[in-house]
Symmetry: C2
Subunit: 268 residues, 2 copies
């Protein structure tokens, strides 16, 4: 299978760099084809702007979504944007490898999403009218693919627990898991998370490497996070969760399928 690793760390000799190298080595040894988008090494431009669109009139008012739609449809995106879209189409699985900075992905990776996830590619896909608000959240261009976030944190694990002061890791990652990856149709695996990474002993690294390898081995077989599909029948015509679903939960967890929920309608 084809695996794309999108890697966002400024220092190759970092833990994140080691995890990237381990993933390349391990997946390649298992017979997968692996490509790496090393955003810092590529000098990736993190700032979405009119320069992303080769045919955009420099004096015209920029509406980024409109310009993105026109450039994607007209094949006039900056070549590095189109190239990353090709890599996503090529991939059967995507790994996002990054350090948690201020409770989200590094800006360079966010800017990769903003520029590569074009209108017509990752959003604005499908019919948006009546009861249907597009092919998103479980359907879309990237359906059939899988993704896993591999994230490192300086903080301690209890701080990210369900009652930890930072907020639960699943809540912090919800905008990425659900809002970025699941939106264009990618199934999302539970994250691989490492804590207190500034104090890692060699033994802890060995244990983490073994755990990471196990997760890589499950990339195409592990159960993804059970997000509801937007068009699976659990949301009403306003895209609001129907009464009775999500009972006993609140916050982001109501968007997970629970035991006893009705089956979802088939995907388009």
């Amino acid at each position: 299978m084809n695996v794309l690793i999108v890697y966002a760390h400024p220092e190759p000799r970092s833990l994140n760099g080691s995890l990237r190298d381990l993933a390349v080595r391990h997946l390649t040894a298992r017979g997968h084809d692996v490509r790496v988008s090393d955003l810092y090494a590529m000098g990736w431009n993190a700032v979405a702007d009119r320069g992303d669109f080769l045919d955009h009139d420099p004096g015209a008012r920029l509406v980024y979504t409109h310009a993105s739609k026109a450039a994607f449809a007209g094949d006039s995106q900056r070549p590095e944007i189109a190239a990353e879209q090709q890599r996503l189409r090529w991939a059967d699985a995507v790994i996002l490898q990054f350090p948690m900075w201020w409770f989200s992905m590094p800006a360079i990776l966010k800017g990769w999403v903003e520029r590569v996830f074009a209108y017509g590619f990752a959003y604005g896909v499908g019919v948006h009218e009546g009861e249907r608000w597009g092919d998103r959240y479980g359907e879309g261009t990237l359906a059939g693919r899988r993704a896993m976030v591999s994230v490192t944190m300086g903080g301690r694990e209890p701080h990210y627990g369900d009652r930890g002061v930072n907020g639960a890791l699943d809540d912090l990652l919800f905008p990425i898991h659900h809002g970025i990856l699941y939106y264009p149709g990618i199934e999302v695996l539970p994250p691989f998370a490492m804590y207190q990474v500034d104090r890692l002993t060699p033994a802890q690294w060995q244990a983490a490497a073994t755990a990471f390898e196990a997760r890589l081995d499950g990339l195409f077989t592990d159960e993804p996070i059970a997000f509801r599909r937007q068009n699976g029948g659990h949301y009403d015509a306003r895209q609001v969760l129907k009464p009775g679903l999500g009972a006993g939960a609140s916050g982001t967890r109501i968007h997970l399928i629970a035991p006893g929920d009705p089956d979802q309608l088939p995907a388009k």
Copy 2:
């Protein structure tokens, strides 16, 4: 009072630009001093890297937190980083004005946070040992200040409601409200949010402008979001919420003070 607006939109003639202009005009007319950090116009570098530290050995391994600590303490940060820190110290209130892109702030604004919120300035402040994990979440360098997120969305309001398919706006903004703003001590007001902004009629703009002015008038008097202070006695020594607190809630909402909760200990 002093108000800093951090503004992140590539197009001055955008709705975000209009909201920025309105805020400058309205707050100035009320007698406040207003400064704007217009990140796109400034050509803000969004990518945190070794270049942020003037004295960093280019060949040395980069540990961003360590380098940030040394450069902040040794006054060898890039001048634009130090200048933004000065603006934050100057400000009594901060407004973040941005469009919601992929369920978070634009990369250029995230990169402003990553580079300006230095070690020793916005994190790594106070003693980290025993029961105390620093002066954060309600205490820190920026305590005594207030902030408000003003955010525009292309999507519809029900999609961002408590049961909406995108996730609740409060959950999506939690990493920003709690993780970025409250962390270094800033009190956070409820967000000013606009929806379906691509279809705004003149009448809708007028109504929004009036509502925004009312929020600006309440910048120093409105009740902030009732986040618990880390060192206020509601979290235990592992920074985990004590039993009995957050009852009936889950997800990010457990970090809000609820009626009947014990009083918090005084801030340091």
